[in-house]
């Protein structure tokens, strides 16, 4: 089975959320295949269902002054930050058979992220009890997912690629205080393009989920950019 992958470039959070919701509906009715959206968000702080107020360090007004939006997200996990230079992946996949296991899905995504990091020369690992991909004590990639009726996934992961991680100062990432964040650039000194990382990540996500990655034409990427402009 195939995983239809699309790189959408820069997409505002609300727009991506609406797109995901539509895809989930289409996937459920069988009108679309498994899909992976890859994109970056303009700076935004999102609150998962498990978010605690204390893990957001600035209020909405202060965030807004820094050009950061605030959104609630219907995903698991605490608070997180998305910004430029971060590859966000939203797999909308109907999990099947033995893959209908929430923990297994998290571990599969971790595998994909660790594999992607390795492809760029970064040795990331799991931390028992802390979902995500870690380099030492620093978080390289965050995960927070939603599983809808029919085991259809949405939300997903955020992999830090670029050098600018200042947006993370506004939150306690995932509610974990004594740890930091890092990125592919921080670890290697080289800055691959987001699209380049997206291509590699798509392959790893597909493999981890037992699917074959197929790229959609770039039309959707261009139209998404137009809509966001």
């Amino acid at each position: 089975m195939t995983l239809s992958c699309r790189f959408l470039g820069r997409v505002p959070y609300a727009q991506a959320a609406a797109l995901q919701e539509r895809l989930v509906g289409l996937r459920r009715s069988g009108a679309s295949t498994d899909t992976l959206l890859l994109l970056e968000h303009p700076p935004v702080v999102t609150l998962g269902r498990g978010a605690r107020a204390g893990h957001l360090l600035l209020d909405e007004a202060a965030l807004s002054a820094r050009g950061i939006e605030l959104h609630e997200a219907g995903r698991g996990g605490d608070v997180t930050f998305h910004g430029l230079g971060q590859l966000v992946g939203y797999p909308v996949v109907a999990l099947q058979g033995a893959r209908r296991d929430a923990h297994r899905y998290l571990r599969d995504l971790e595998d994909a992220l660790i594999g992607t990091a390795a492809a760029f020369g970064v040795e990331a690992a799991r931390e028992p009890g802390l979902t995500g991909a870690w380099v030492g004590r620093d978080k390289l990639a965050a995960i927070g997912v939603r599983i809808g009726t029919g085991w259809i996934t949405s939300h997903g992961f955020a992999l830090n690629v670029g050098d600018d991680l200042s947006g993370f100062d506004t939150i306690v990432p995932c509610g974990i205080r004594d740890r930091g964040v890092t990125s592919l650039t921080r670890e290697t000194g080289a800055t691959p393009s987001l699209e380049e990382v997206a291509r590699v990540a798509a392959d790893h996500v597909a493999t981890a989920l037992g699917l074959a990655a197929v790229w959609e034409a770039a039309v959707s990427s261009a139209s998404a950019r137009r809509e966001s402009a």
């Binding site: 698991g76 209908r100 296991d101 923990h103 979902t131 599983i147 009726t149």
Partner: protein
Amino acid sequence: MRVDVVMPQMGESIAEGTITRWMKQVGETVGRDEPLFEISTDKVDAEIPSPAAGKLVEIKNAAGETVPVNQVVAVLETDASAAASAPKPESKPPETKPAEAQPAAAPPAPKPAPAAPAPAAAVASEASSEGSFVSPVVRKIAAEHGIDPSSVPGTGAGGRVSKKDILDFVAQGKPPAAAATPSTAPARVAPAAPAAPQVTFASGARTERQAMTPMRKKIAEHMVESRRTSAHVHSVFEVDMSRVVALRTKYKSLYEERHGTKLTLTPFFVKAACDALRAFPILNSSVEGNEIVYRKDLNVGVAVALDWGLIVPVVRNADQLSIAGLTMKINDLAERARTKKLLPDEVQGGTFTITNPGIFGGLFGLPIINQPQVAILGIGGIEKRPVVIDDAIAIRDRMYMSMSYDHRVVDGAVADQFLAFVKKVLQEFDESLL
């Protein structure tokens, strides 16, 4: 019918979930598979669909509460919206009247009307609940004393039987049949299939009474329900298995080496069935009302006999797997069925079933259709028999293959063509697939 909604098992290593939101409130109606509540575990938020259509009559755990897997969190009343053909609980005779007034001699036991429950509701309850929740502790005590837990008046939430209830019940020293059901107990609607318990055999030294295990009860309900639903007819074919048996012998050690798995005959049958299902899609359908629902996925159930019953794990999209893939998948499912590690989801969603009545030497069986499917293939025992080939007598591996199918939608001619197709695939099995 009351249907319990339980905290679903979202994964093998997940023991509990926190309810984050109820999408429906008590009194509201909900459709089958419509989102009912949301839970959160670790980094995952999940939306839980309703197991049945009905009215939400009780929410046992509010948002924010953390609940162990399989605990009942809500109760649905399916009669409210279910088909009118289902008998109303009020029209039913009162549940198991105290038998003390009626000695064993032929009680005028009202025959429970053979209920024809709405298909959706029946399927839903099959998938997600077995009526009222009885904790393992209570079940164990009940079994030890030969008591049907549903005959014990429960004082817990929703009439649930607590440990204290059953111990009190036992302490009263009343044999199960003589137990008085207080009239204040909430009227429980019995599952449609089993008749209201009647005392035919007096308890004594020469009899032993044992409560059915939940699995036994489920099998009983499912089987009777299927007989009532489908017009069962049967066909039997004889197949020459010499080629398949030889291929299996030839590749057995290679599979062990290359895939670390034991090559059995089942993958051959699954493969042959898949090919035939693609050619005759009506055998992969379901009946809903006056409509035939053709299922595009080939999810083949493979019956596994257990010491304590029978379970049918499902190989999803079986047609997309290679013989090696099928072998590993089937062996994995069978192994986990035996060690009770199947996920609930792995026994649902089948579109066709293969069962194996020949293990103990039976020539063939006439199995009961696994609802809501329309056909089940039975594999008989394989044995060497003399056959006439080109006017010479040869010794070949022969097998009887039977199929039960639902004559509502499958006619004999189609069923026979299907079986002839399966037979041809098996007899001329393509070695390059191995």
